[in-house]
Point group: C2
Chain length 135, copies 2
DNA sequence: GCGCACTAGTTGAATCTTCAACATATGTTC
DNA sequence: GAACATATGTTGAAGATTCAACTAGTGCGC
């Protein structure tokens, strides 16, 4: 646990100094970029990014004021809201991802035996499954 | 990473609702309880618990106001401060640890193949080593 | 023993997260 | 179709964390 905490700390500092993004902001941009039409309902996004809805709401407000994300209300469900990645958000993500991937490699991937890496993936996959979908 | 984040979230919620402690507070109590005479210099404690000094300072203030920790100045080095676990802190820790260990087992240990568990340990041990001592 | 660079720890403001309350919409039951 | 339980998303206040100063003490060089 200690290792994983320290690792995210490094990621966070790295993203923040080089690109002004926190890990959770980055996470949100990633999920949106992977979604069809680069947009998701808030609830789905919260689920994907493992954040509470409240937290997502606040974080989205920040991202919106940076111009990286935009929110629109959903026609089908009048309660619903779509968050979608702006073009600016997409290019910001691309830039950040390049550095981020390198940092991940440097402090995580390259440090660990490939077989152990697989074991880590298996292990935490099971943990996620055990924890169930929502928090 | 997602798995480990979700896992600490569970631990945090569990400790907080049952014992009114956050994971980082718990962490501090554990390190102190393991130290000789149940006390450590602030800097060492920060290092052991992977927290910044500032954060430790704030957290210790909280713990002190709960009566679980006490701070005394150090005779040798007049800048220094010893944090030590009170008796009350020790019994609070004992109570919390019982539940905590069980939660860890339930969502982590018991979910993972023993061999993979070892791999996880190896892997994050190396990450820690790669990251170096202080943050 | 004076000056200077460095270490220990704390503080306060800005930022981020959590929590509970809220407004609004949906759908189910009778 | 009215009442009720449930889902969606936001808000604001309280709590925690980060960051950049800051105080105070140590130790080294000369």
């Amino acid at each position: 646990m200690d290792g994983s905490v320290r690792l995210t700390e490094i990621m966070d500092r790295d993203l923040k100094t080089k690109h002004g993004l926190s890990v959770s902001e980055y996470e949100i941009l990633v999920r949106l970029s992977e979604a069809p039409e680069r947009r998701l309902r808030m609830a789905e996004l919260a689920e994907n990014a493992s954040q509470s809805r409240s937290r997502l709401s606040h974080t989205c407000s920040r991202l919106e004021s940076k111009g990286l994300v935009k929110r629109d209300s959903c026609p089908n469900d009048k309660r619903g809201v779509y968050a979608h990645l702006t073009d600016e958000g997409f290019t910001a993500l691309e830039r950040a991802a390049r550095d981020h991937v390198e940092t991940v490699r440097e402090f995580f991937i390259d440090v660990i035996e490939p077989a152990d890496l697989e074991a880590v993936g298996r292990a935490f996959g099971l943990v996620l499954k055990r924890l169930g979908p929502a928090s």
